[in-house]
């Protein structure tokens, strides 16, 4: 029998807000244990939650980015369960009325080759709701300690429909979702810092069957690659169970990305009764049209829309757009450069190659995302546009331009200033050029002879010698003309 996989994801994303979800104490990462706390975070007797409006703004924005319907009322529920990382022993969440309903994540599957755009699909979302994160347990040899810094951080849970067919699609979904949320300023989505976490529900069924098979929940998938590996592993495991005549048990499994194996955490029988009920400490909040409209005005262009526009409007090749578009600041830099009148292709090349390379090896940009690197680096669109124009108008050669780029990245000076200061302008002095050409002809009699028999390429040896003698400043076009004239 032939089987197909059906996968749904639950993605938890921490919102990037100044303070926690229900109190004014700062949200953050990497602080000394249990210092980002107050009576509300620690659930001291008498403490009460008060909603953080910035968090609500951000989830509404996320919902608008993903095309969700935004509920008219934000309602809060308590999810009751005992665990030491949960200070109140209940979590404030949204149960029957999530803030965002429906919507979809547009994904791109791997193309036939690296330079070919892959198939795009819309993966429907079930819901997005807002809740508060829990603390972190640090297990020692003889005891476990709780760090409450993370407790109370605004956390968004994004639930997809069971609509993914493969591990690759799950990988593509998380990739696209992360780009959309980072570009919207919703979250930094750093999986290493736990800002984005993913659980997957996986089942298999005979092809043609419409009912879902028994699902297994896979937890602790703490990188996008582990999500892909874990799902692929689980599908293989379920297929093997079926092939051996077994039955799939509904359970929660833990995937170890290092060893590529999984083990059962708990079965369905141990499922909690969360005793949800509306939180009496928090009044429902109306989300009116004016509020939604004010947030809608801040929603950036979707990265895939932007990519399609870059390819259509600027005639950029797919490969370079897939470097530029995932980073909003990089794409913004390109677009601003193009708007200054620089040739789009050339501008895109400078940004995607030279700018990224310099950022990666500079002190300001090393280890940062391009967005963060760009925020501190000295290169502005005017620098790149100026450089493109200098090359285009023949003032400097491409190879000189590469050096100018490095200089302006370091100093922040505009390219024409650097060219002027360092005397890098191409030589168009025909007398000087003729002397270099004459010398080169004299030094390369074989090339001259070959050219005369019709071998065009032989001319390159002479032109190369001229460039070397001029330290790259000879204008290639004039050199070509003069060489042909002198030989001919």
């Amino acid at each position: 029998m032939k089987y197909e996989a059906v996968i749904g994801l639950e993605v938890h994303v921490q919102l990037r807000t100044k303070s926690k979800m229900f109190t004014r104490v700062a949200a953050g990462y990497g602080e000394p244990e249990s210092t980002l706390v107050d009576p509300v975070v620690l659930a001291l007797p008498g403490a009460l939650p008060v909603m953080n409006k910035e968090a609500l703004d951000k989830i509404i924005k996320a919902g608008l980015i993903l095309g969700c319907e935004i509920a008219a009322v934000c309602k809060w529920d308590r999810k009751n369960y005992f665990y030491p990382d949960s200070p109140k022993n209940y979590q404030i969440s949204q149960y029957d009325q999530p803030l965002c309903i429906g919507g979809a994540v547009e994904i791109e599957l791997p193309g036939a080759a690296r330079n070919v755009m892959g198939e795009h699909k819309q993966i429907p979302l079930t819901r997005i709701h807002l809740e508060e994160d829990v603390g972190k347990l640090n297990h020692g040899a003889s005891d476990s300690l709780v760090d409450y810094n993370r407790a109370g951080t605004p956390l968004m849970e994004i639930v997809t429909d069971p609509a993914l067919a493969s591990a690759d699609e799950a990988y593509a979904l998380l990739t696209s979702l992360r780009i959309a949320l980072v570009q919207g300023g919703i979250s930094d989505c750093d999986m290493e810092k736990g800002q984005m976490r993913c659980d997957a529900n996986i089942s298999i069924r005979p092809v043609g069957e419409t009912k879902l098979g028994t699902k297994v929940e896979l937890k602790n998938l703490n990188s996008i690659s582990f999500v892909r590996d874990g799902i692929a592993h689980e599908i293989r495991r379920q297929l093997a169970v079926k092939e051996n005549g077994g039955t799939i048990v509904q359970e929660t499994r833990d995937f170890d990305g290092q060893t590529g194996t999984s083990q059962s955490l708990r079965s369905k029988e141990m499922a909690h009764d969360y005793r949800y009920f509306p939180d009496p400490d928090l009044m429902p909040v109306n989300v009116d049209d004016a509020w939604k409209a004010s947030i809608r005005a801040t929603v950036p262009e979707h990265h895939f829309d932007r990519q399609r526009r870059f390819m259509a409007d600027y005639q950029l090749p797919y490969t370079i757009t897939s470097v530029l578009v995932p980073d909003r600041a990089l794409a913004d830099t390109f677009e601003a450069t193009a708007k200054l009148g620089a040739a789009p292709q050339a501008a895109a090349n400078w940004i995607a190659n030279d700018l990224l390379r310099e950022l990666a090896r500079s002190d300001v940009g090393r280890g940062l995302s391009p967005t963060d690197g760009l925020a501190t680096c000295k290169i502005q669109p005017a620098h790149i546009a100026g450089l493109v124009k200098l090359v285009e108008s023949g003032v400097i050669s491409n190879s000189i331009a590469k050096e100018v780029f490095v200089t302006m990245f370091q100093s922040g000076e505009l390219p024409d200033v650097i060219v002027e200061k360092q005397g890098l302008k191409q030589s168009t002095d025909t007398g000087e050029l003729a002397k270099w050409v004459t010398d080169a002809i004299a030094a390369n009699p074989r090339a001259v002879a070959e050219f005369k028999t019709g071998n065009e390429k032989a001319l390159n040896a002479i032109k190369g010698a001229v460039m070397k003698a001029s330290a790259g400043k000879a204008n290639p076009k004039l050199v070509d003309e003069i060489t042909r004239k002198l030989i001919g």
């Binding site: 001291l44 007797p45 008498g46 009751n80 009920f277």
Partner: protein, 490 residues
């Protein structure tokens, strides 16, 4: 001087302080002396802060000497029900669970009272986590009724009522979830005010049932209650359920509102179970208003009378089961030394830390919310609660306030009902629906039984019309002398 002070109303003490005839230090010394003299028998206090109170009194006297007094409550000691946070003081909720817990922060009412110069004097006994009607459910033992030490002071704010009745405190704070201020006020012969839900911030009040809890005050006179309410009322950004309303000068309003009023008498609140002496005293109070030219009309609250107790014990216990989940022995509070693992730590710590009534309510509330029962219990109870609220709204459209007994009986004997939870629950039958409807209610003394036990008249007002309610209550008080009688404590 000291003996003359113990039963003076706070407003009168404020005058003496203002005129320089009395210092705050003298007043606090007087309260300390009285407390030391009688509290061994009354047991109103779980603890008090002698040095802290005297230091604050001295600071108050210095402010006053410098012409910087902060208002009428400056220098006046206030007793706190042991469920409202005062930074640096115990917050035990009369539970073994929090027996050694010190609050690191102030409740909003504490912040406001401190800003007004009032002195947080000590911690008043209560039913554990405010669950009870007699103060017998305290891990530290019961409080006695100052009028008859063999009887209960009511509850759950029994210590708050007894301290005022026994002359230990001029005013105190309590909390009222189903009658926990009004019922003990009635049983101890003092004034007890439960404000409209949302008028006083709950921040810093250890939660029992969040949608019903409200902080209020016990006092010797209606005017004193107005004085304290004026300080503690008002919107608090730390409490999402606190109402954004202007707070009038309640004390000044007392003189401006003169009636006559249209007053409703809910006929169901005078049925079976009402002690005849209590009924007679309340009817006499109703007669007072009729004589004064008020229009008295009989009204009907059939749903409130029939279902309030059932609805209350579904909603309050559901909320309590969740609110009290935080007491787990992990971060603070009682931690069992017998636990084998983390789950066992929860079981053992909670088994050892909570008393029977608290456990009973947590179990009931957990059941009420559990999968398969939620719709039949919690959801249905919320719907009936809405109907009860609508019933009150309709009646209060026609009436400025409602009059009823506060409690069906006067103070009962310690131990009399402690083995019969249902009988205990019925002592709140006239007060509980007021919490479900979120309305303000006040109990004022309206007589004594033949055996010399105080009787309370309950007045129920319109939402956020405390000014009107206090004026109506004061009209009765000014024509009677019940509040000037004091227990002999012999």
């Amino acid at each position: 001087m000291a003996d003359d002070l113990i039963y003076l109303p706070a407003a009168r003490l404020a005058e003496l302080l203002g005129s320089g005839k009395l210092s705050s230090s003298e007043l606090v010394q007087s309260c300390l002396a009285r407390t030391k003299a009688v509290d061994g028998r009354v047991k109103a206090f779980n603890s008090y802060d002698e040095t802290g109170a005297l230091a604050l009194a001295q600071a108050s006297d210095q402010r006053r000497a410098a012409g910087q007094a902060r208002g009428p409550l400056d220098g006046i000691p206030v007793g706190f029900k042991d469920v409202i946070a005062v930074a640096g003081q115990p917050l035990t909720c009369s539970s073994k669970m929090l027996a050694n817990y010190i609050s690191p922060y102030d409740a909003t009412v504490t912040v406001k009272l401190k800003a007004a110069g009032a002195i947080p004097f000590g911690r008043l006994n209560m039913d554990e986590f405010a669950m009870g009607s007699s103060t017998e459910n305290s891990a530290f033992g019961p409080t006695a009724n100052p009028w008859d030490l063999s009887r209960v002071p009511g509850g759950s704010s029994g210590g708050s009522a007894a301290a005022v009745a026994a002359g230990e405190m001029p005013v105190s704070l309590g909390s009222d979830t189903g009658g926990s201020i009004r019922q003990p006020a009635a049983l101890c012969g003092v004034v007890g005010l439960k404000p409209t839900y949302g008028l006083v911030s709950r921040y810093g009040l250890a939660a029992y049932a969040s949608s019903l809890d409200q902080i209020g005050t016990m006092a010797r006179t209606v005017e004193d209650a107005a004085l304290v309410l004026g300080v503690i009322a008002g919107h608090d950004p730390r409490d999402s359920t606190s109402f954004k309303a202007d707070v009038p000068d309640y004390r000044a309003e007392l003189g401006r509102r003169k009636g006559p009023w249209r007053l409703g008498v809910p006929k169901e609140f005078f049925g079976a179970g009402l002690d005849p002496e209590v009924g007679a005293a309340v009817r006499a109070a109703i007669e007072h208003y009729r004589q004064a030219g008020c229009e008295i009309r009989e009204v009907s609250l059939p749903l409130a009378a029939e279902y309030a107790i059932a609805v209350y014990y579904l909603i309050a216990t559901a909320e309590a089961s969740s609110n009290l989940a935080r007491y787990d022995g992990v971060r603070y509070g009682h931690r069992s030394t017998k636990a084998k693992d983390v789950v066992d730590l929860y079981f053992q710590s909670r088994a050892e830390g909570f008393g029977d009534e608290v456990k009973r309510r947590i179990i009931l509330g957990t059941h009420v919310l559990s999968s398969g029962y939620y719709d039949a219990y919690y959801l249905r109870a919320q719907k009936v609660r809405t109907l009860i609220r609508n019933e009150f709204t309709a009646v209060l459209r026609e009436c400025d306030a409602l009059l009823s007994p506060t409690s069906p009986t006067a103070a009962f004997k310690i131990g009399e009902k402690s083995s019969d939870p249902l009988a205990m629950y019925l002592t709140d039958i006239y007060t509980i629906s007021v919490n479900l409807a979120g309305l303000p209610g006040i109990s004022v003394p309206c007589g004594f039984t033949g055996g010399g036990l105080p009787i309370g008249l309950q007045l129920i007002g319109r939402p956020f019309d405390e000014a009107g309610l206090l004026a109506i209550a004061r009209h009765y008080e000014q024509a009677h002398a019940w509040h000037t009688q004091h227990p002999s404590l012999s």
